[in-house]
Amino acid sequence: MSQVPVIDAENLQKVYGAGGTPVVALDHVTLQVHQGEFVAVVGASGSGKSTFMNLIGLLDRPTGGALRLDGVDVAKLTPNQRAAVRNRKVGFVFQGFNLLRRTSALENVELPLLYAGVSAHERAEAAKRALTQVGLGERMGHMPNELSGGQQQRVAIARALVNQPALLLADEPTGNLDSTTTREILKLFVDLNVNHGITVVIVTHENDVAAVSRRVVQFKDGRVVMDGPPPAEWTPAVPAPWHAASTTPASEVA
């Protein structure tokens, strides 16, 4: 782990409400995530975990501290460069899927390529590949409202993957899904991490989801209060290769 970290947050700070009483959402968070890690960010609602994700996804701007993605200080980026990072380096998956309504699955997945300036033909090819990868090869022409929640989330994951980003950020990706679908989505994340080398950071408040990861970062009141392997008493929702290597495999505890 001597390379440049994918995510390098240093004293990252986010304070809301410049006018009245300021609310500190993120309080001097220092955290590094390296290439190929599978990290779960946990914490109660309001702990700052989503704020942290929005900052590293460049959807929001910090009010203090420094953030480097692949060694690049994002504070120095122009708005267009920030858009390019969102487009190419980071794939974001939301709890509410955030698909465009009345737009087919294929076109939703094509969207990042559209802004990357890829030709129509290549867009369609890449989007089909991504949809096939998430197991939705058969339903490309469907509109989001014709798909189940799990299928919609797969479309969203395909969209996040289509530009082949190094980093996949997922903010409560299984929050709206039942347990069966949750397991399918998590298997997909594990596969992307293990077989495609994509760094995965996933926000969740469910222990069994967090337990799938290799590393759990717990937020409380805007600070990191714990950073390490998942506690042994948490049961992973799906198995991952690293569970077997662990001294106390989660499956044995269950």
């Binding site: 929005n54 996804g57 460049l58 959807l59 929001d60 708005p79 267009n80 858009a83 390019a84 969102r86 487009n87 190419r88 974001f92 939301f94 955030n98 698909l99 465009l100 309504r101 009345r102 969207l111 990042p112 559209l114 802004y115 990357a116 129509a120 969209r159 530009n163």
Partner: protein, 407 residues
């Protein structure tokens, strides 16, 4: 994103809410249609005026005795006595910037041919008349200087008179009687249609000036009711008016301070005046149309603002997957332009239709000008850019996280 993708996206979004799109562009439709119809109407009126003025003869100058009142002269008959045949001879001699000069005296007469008769105006004039008025014969010949010199009793009929007296028969070499004097018909004039004052110019009979003086003028044989002159060309017509004015003033011994006792009208000026009236009407109607385009533009701005608000989440999603703010700006701008250009296209069609219907229903001449239609269409597109810019900029300036959180 290329233009094709943008247009496809805009069309899809617009077609999702057709009723709203139609209502939004209604203002533009009305504005553009009004512009097209008004300009078509204005162009038609102008063409009418130009045609009527051209029917009087090119580079025509009219000399009328008496004061400046044209109507008074026309009705007066013998009341105006200030220009006589010697004046005409002097003008012919001394004014170099005219090519022809034709005195024309007229009288209301009853003309008889066999058992048909017709009340009309007989004009006694010289052969120069045909040139100056640019009014030639369709059938037969004009009367000549020989006819003038020999006092030949020949006449040239206007189209209306020929039709009234002879119907479809050939009137050439037939005899007609004017004030009991027999005249041989030697020609029929081509049709001139209505004068700018709305009279039927074809309801007339032309006889030699010398014969008119001898047989019809009575005691007023030296007086001139009206004279027509042709300037060398359009540019010299004002010079001709000035020269003729100078000659006549000198001959009439008018003092420096005295008003002219005659009036000389330059047709080019009359044409310019009429054109000015038509132009200012077009301008007035055009500005009303412009106001409705403005109102239409505000309608588009309003709809686009609503659309941006409604689609805040969509904007957030687009920003989150890597759209630059310029991409969002262009997307909404293209949408506004497509909307307004769509309205413009419908407006062009409606305007064309209104112009045609007006033509059919009222007989007003309307001229549909494709270049005006193209201009109106382009302006409607420009209205889209202008009024779409602010909503598009609002969309483009949204923060990704705020837009995503928008409920």
């Amino acid at each position: 994103m290329n233009l094709f993708t943008l247009l496809r996206l805009a069309l899809r979004v617009i077609s999702r809410n057709k009723a709203r799109a139609m209502l939004t562009v209604l203002g533009i439709v009305i504005g553009v249609a009004a512009v097209i119809a008004m300009v078509a109407l204005g162009a038609g009126a102008q063409q009418n005026i130009a045609k009527q003025i051209a029917s009087l003869g090119s580079n025509l100058i009219i000399i009328i005795p008496g004061t400046t009142n044209i109507a008074g002269v026309r009705g007066g008959g013998g009341s105006s006595t200030t220009v006589d045949v010697d004046d005409i001879d002097a003008l012919r001699r001394e004014v170099k910037s005219i090519t022809h000069l034709a005195p024309a005296n007229r009288q209301q007469v009853q003309i008889v041919a066999g058992d048909a008769n017709w009340g009309t105006t007989v004009q006694g004039t010289t052969p120069a008349f045909y040139v100056v008025r640019d009014w030639r014969t369709d059938v037969g010949t004009e009367h000549s200087e020989l006819d003038e010199a020999a006092h030949n009793k020949v006449c040239v009929l206007g189209k209306t008179v020929a039709a009234q007296l002879f119907g479809t028969d050939d009137p050439i070499d037939q005899w007609v009687r004017i004030k009991k004097v027999p005249f041989r018909v030697i020609g029929v004039l081509s049709s001139k249609g209505q004068s700018p004052m709305g009279q039927d110019q074809d309801d007339t009979v032309v006889i030699p000036f010398s014969v008119f003086r001898q047989r019809l003028a009575g005691t007023q044989r030296d007086q001139i009711q009206v004279a027509y002159a042709a300037a060398l060309d359009a540019d010299s017509s004002q010079a001709a008016v000035d020269e003729m004015t100078a000659v006549l003033r000198q001959r009439h011994h008018l003092r420096e301070s005295a008003d002219d006792d005659f009036s000389i009208r330059n047709l080019a000026d009359m044409a310019a005046a009429s054109r000015e009236v038509a132009d200012s009407m077009t301008l007035l109607l055009g500005s009303i149309a412009g106001v409705s385009l403005l109102v239409g533009g505000i309608g588009i701005m309003n709809t686009m603002l609503v659309s941006v608000t409604e689609r805040t989440r969509e904007i957030g999603i687009r920003l989150a997957v890597g759209a630059k703010s310029r991409d969002i700006l262009v997307q909404f701008l293209v949408e506004a332009v497509v909307l307004s250009a769509f309205g413009g296209a419908i407006g062009v069609f409606v305007g064309w239709l209104v112009a045609r219907l007006l033509n059919d229903a009222t007989g007003w001449v309307t001229i549909f000008d494709p270049s005006v239609a193209a201009l109106a269409f382009l302006v409607s597109g420009a209205v889209g850019v202008f009024f779409g810019f602010w909503p598009a900029r609002r969309a483009a300036q949204l923060d990704p996280i705020d837009a995503l959180r928008y409920e």
